[in-house]
Structure formats: structure tokens, C-alpha cells
């Protein structure tokens, strides 16, 4: 692993972000809109059901965490797609760059961009809606870590899919978080799902996060065991996603797809 190679991948993304407001604004614009939307919904529900659950924590907290996960996943895939859009694979992989260095560069880029989004979300949720982020402090971190790991796994897997299916499959990437959200039980308890959906949910680390968040808000003990299991599951999924990316990459090198990768030739 050569750190200069990893830095080169991250540096390219930094240059792109720095020079382009159209790349910079989406890092926080959409998540900010979501926070405002769910903040008002939670405030309204708290007003009409003052003795109900704490909607600000459960709904706004869930929306905030889900947006963070989405941002992480899209952070990896967007960085990857930059190389698709600029037809850069031939230039990149004719250098001594290894696949692991390339993927790590994408992940580091996603970490940086997602932290920007998370900071904006927390600031907006705290300042505009009184979201008690600081009251939970370090307890918030394990939830974020699990979503962070799963977002990376899904981002790598989605990138492998685009590499295999071609640039036209890009549109399949964006709705993946929306497709998973019913299973992840972001806004409702896992128990309301039918058995087959619960079975799928148990393979998704975010479902443990949102169950744990609701339990914590309800005054139950911190769900350490569940979050540790979810973190292990997400870590294993990163390994599997990376193995999938490597397998797809090798297949594209064998088939010649990597050398002629462009919208015209593979769509």
C-alpha cells in the first residue's frame, strides 16, 4: 500500500470539489433540506401529541442518521463516477496504482465529504430545532460508525456494479438507499415488518442502529451488544464488497472492458 497513490486519488477529488460549486453544494444542500423537513414534521407531531414519544429524537435523529449513511455511500460512488465520467480508467490503471489503493482513496474522499455533511446536519438540527446532540455525546458515535461502515460497503458494491454493467447503470446507484430504507426500519420498529422483511432487515446493519436509537430514546440501556454485532456485520460486508470489486475489476481487465471503458462503448 503506497500512501502517495492513495493521496493522489483523494487529491484529484479535492481539486474537483474545490473548483466546482456544483459538486460542493450537494454535500450539504440535500441533507439540510431533509433536516428542515423532518425538523418541522417532528416539531408538529410533538405539538399535537405532547405525551407521545419524543419525535424530535426519533424522527429527526433517524432522518439525520439515514442521510449520513446515504451521504457516505454516495460519497464513494460519486468519487468513482468522476473517473467514469472523465474516462480516466485507462490513465489511472496504466500507472502503478493498485485496486486497494484506488478504493481506499475513494473511501477517504467519502469520509471527508460525509463529515462535512454530518457537521452541517448536526449544526442545523441543533440550532434550528434544538436536537440534543450534545446530551448524547459519545453515545452517538457507535451509531454513526455502523452506518459509516455499511455506507462504505454499499458504495464499493455499487461502484463494482457500475464497473461491470457500464456507465448507463449509474442510475441504479442513486435509489439504492431508498430501496433499503423500508427494510432498515428507519422510522418504525422492526416488529411491524412481516417476517420475510425482518429476515432481510437482520442482514442490514442500519436496522440495528435505528432499533437501538429508539431503545435509547425510550430510556432503555445502551444497545452495546446489538451495535457491536452490527459493526461486525458491516465490516464483513466491506470485505465482501471489496472482494466483489476486485473480482469485477479483474474480469474487466480480462475482457478488455477496462481498456475501452466509456459511455459509448459499454452502455
Amino acid at each position: 500500500m503506497n500512501p502517495r497513490h492513495v493521496a493522489a486519488i483523494a487529491l484529484r477529488q479535492y481539486y474537483l470539489l474545490r473548483s466546482s460549486p456544483t459538486r460542493l453544494v450537494p454535500l450539504f444542500a440535500w441533507v439540510a433540506i431533509d433536516i428542515v423537513l423532518w425538523g418541522f414534521i417532528a416539531r408538529y407531531l410533538d405539538r399535537i401529541a405532547p405525551h407521545g414519544p419524543d419525535f424530535l429524537l426519533t424522527l429527526l435523529g433517524a432522518a439525520l442518521l439515514w442521510d449520513f449513511f446515504t451521504r457516505i455511500m454516495h460519497g464513494v460512488t460519486t468519487a468513482f463516477l468522476e473517473d467514469v465520467w472523465s474516462r480516466n480508467f485507462l490513465n489511472l490503471f496504466a500507472t502503478p496504482l493498485s485496486v486497494s489503493e484506488y478504493v481506499l482513496g475513494l473511501v477517504l474522499t467519502s469520509i471527508a465529504t460525509s463529515l462535512v455533511g454530518l457537521a452541517v446536519m448536526l449544526a442545523l438540527a441543533s440550532l434550528a430545532f434544538g436536537f440534543p446532540f450534545l446530551a448524547y455525546g459519545a453515545q452517538f458515535v457507535p451509531f454513526v460508525v455502523v452506518l459509516f461502515l455499511f455506507g462504505i460497503a454499499l458504495g464499493i458494491l455499487a461502484s463494482a456494479m457500475v464497473l461491470r454493467l457500464g456507465p448507463a447503470s449509474e442510475w441504479l446507484v442513486w435509489p439504492i438507499p431508498a430501496l433499503l430504507s423500508p427494510f432498515a426500519s428507519v422510522f418504525y420498529p422492526l416488529a411491524v415488518l412481516p417476517a420475510w422483511m425482518q429476515a432481510i432487515a437482520r442482514a442490514l446493519p442500519p436496522s440495528y442502529v435505528f432499533e437501538g436509537l429508539r431503545a435509547l430514546v425510550a430510556g432503555k440501556p445502551f444497545p452495546l451488544r446489538e451495535l457491536a454485532w452490527a459493526a461486525g456485520l458491516a465490516a464483513a460486508q466491506i470485505v465482501l464488497a471489496y472482494a466483489c470489486f476486485v473480482a469485477v475489476f479483474r474480469a474487466t481487465v480480462r475482457s478488455g472492458l477496462l481498456a475501452r471503458y466509456s459511455a459509448e462503448s459499454t452502455a
Binding site: A8, F89, G256
Partner: protein
């Protein structure tokens, strides 16, 4: 055994797509301070061969050694001393010239990168474009940027796939002179593909003719046409393209 001064040694290289043999048993060398022209009609297997040497296409058979390093076993080490420029692989248009050179300099592990970038910017007359996005440059300027990137790591093996294809005659001549100067000054070998036979005669020390994935002829571009009864290199090219079977036994 490859020649002692061989920078690139290709042995029995093959690439099959199903039943189609894109490259079939090709063997050749490129030596230090030598420019070798890889010639052939469209679909002959030139770019396939170059892609295999660049490590972005896996051969079905054969071996590629760059400075004695087996590309299949030690890809990163072999590619550290290689670089390329191709008309179909421009640098990302959304980064400036300097940003692209910095990123690729890191990827190639260039020492004292800032100083080296200044050198290649000066060498290829790109100083005034350093802060210009590559996508805004003309074809000739983009070719110079690609060549600057290709020289950034002082490669021992330089692969040039139709580097002057989109240039006007004046710009193409300038590029040819620049590459010729580099080849005589630095200890590197160059593999050059082109459809411009005038250019090949002017630049190449040796040429290889590929057709239908097989290496049919090899020799000095100035004497090879006469040896095969052709009035010029272009006439020989046309014969090889149209009547490959008349060149009987492919070269080993």
C-alpha cells in the same frame, strides 16, 4: 533470451476473445535509445498489444517483461518505469494541467515532483496553460499535456499510440522533434504506433508490421520497402493490409 539492452521484451503474446485471435503469438523487443514503430491496418492488434503492455488488458498467452520485470507477477514495479500517451486517453478535462500533472506525478512516485512539473511544463511549452483546465485546450495542446504526463516519471519505456493523430502538420512535426530529442537524450525505448508512414520513416529506427493479430514483418523503415519490392513504406503498408497472406510465414 532478450537482448541485454532490451527495455521491453514481449514473448508469444496472445489475446483471444472467444474464437477471435486479436493478437496471436507476437514476440518483439524495444531497446534503449530506440524508437520502434508498431504498424498495421485498423484492427491489426496494435492497441490491444499496447493495452496488454500497459497492464490494463490481460493477455491470454505469453509474457511481457519491462526492464526484466515480469508484468504479470510484478505489475506495480514494471509500470513504475513505463508511461504512455494516446489520442483516445486524454487527461481528465475537469482538472487543470498542473493539477493533472500533480496527481499523476504522485501515482508514478515522481521524486521532487514540483520541480519535475516545472521541467515538463517548460519542455512542452505549457507554462501559460498550467492553470487551464485540460478540457479547454486545443487538440495540439492536449497532446502536449499528455506527452508531459508521459515524460513526468522519466520512463524507460514510453508507449505512444498515434500521438500525432489529431494534430495539424506543423504541430505534428513539433511533437515528432520533441520526442526524437527525448529519445536521443534519455535512456528510454519508445514503441510508437501511427498510420502516417512519412512520420514513421522520419522517427522510427525499426518497424514491426502487424496484421490480423500476427507480426508479419520487421526491419528498418528506410530499407524494408525495397527488400519487399515496394516503392515506399506506405505502399508496403497497403500490401500488408490487403494481402497479408503473401507475407507467408509470420515472424517468430
Amino acid at each position: 533470451m532478450p537482448h541485454a539492452s532490451a527495455i521491453l521484451a514481449v514473448r508469444d503474446l496472445g489475446k483471444r476473445y472467444g474464437t477471435t485471435r486479436a493478437v496471436d503469438g507476437v514476440s518483439f523487443e524495444v531497446r534503449r535509445n530506440e524508437i520502434v514503430g508498431l504498424l498495421g491496418p485498423n484492427g491489426a492488434g496494435k492497441t490491444t498489444t499496447i493495452n496488454m503492455i500497459l497492464g490494463v488488458l490481460a493477455p491470454s498467452a505469453g509474457e511481457i517483461r519491462i526492464e526484466g520485470v515480469d508484468l504479470a507477477r510484478e505489475r506495480e514495479r514494471a509500470l513504475a518505469s513505463t508511461n504512455f500517451a494516446a489520442v483516445y486517453a486524454p487527461l481528465p478535462g475537469n482538472l487543470t494541467v498542473q493539477q493533472n500533472l500533480r496527481c499523476f506525478g504522485l501515482l508514478y512516485g515522481v521524486r521532487d515532483l514540483a520541480a519535475r512539473i516545472e521541467e515538463v511544463l517548460a519542455e512542452f511549452d505549457l507554462m501559460r496553460f498550467r492553470h487551464t483546465r485540460c478540457g479547454l485546450l486545443s487538440s495540439g495542446e492536449q497532446t502536449r499535456v499528455a506527452l508531459a504526463k508521459a515524460m513526468l516519471n522519466r520512463p524507460r519505456l514510453l508507449l505512444l499510440d498515434e500521438p500525432t493523430a489529431s494534430l495539424d502538420p506543423s504541430a505534428a512535426q513539433h511533437i515528432r522533434h520533441a520526442i526524437r530529442a527525448i529519445a536521443s537524450r534519455d535512456t528510454l525505448g519508445i514503441l510508437w504506433t501511427s498510420h502516417n508512414m512519412y512520420e514513421v520513416e522520419a522517427v522510427c529506427d525499426r518497424v514491426l508490421f502487424l496484421s490480423q493479430g500476427r507480426l508479419l514483418l520487421e526491419g528498418d523503415p528506410k530499407t524494408l520497402p525495397r527488400e519487399h519490392g515496394a516503392p515506399s513504406l506506405e505502399a508496403l503498408f497497403i500490401r500488408v493490409a490487403r494481402e497479408p497472406l503473401t507475407f507467408a510465414e509470420p515472424m517468430a
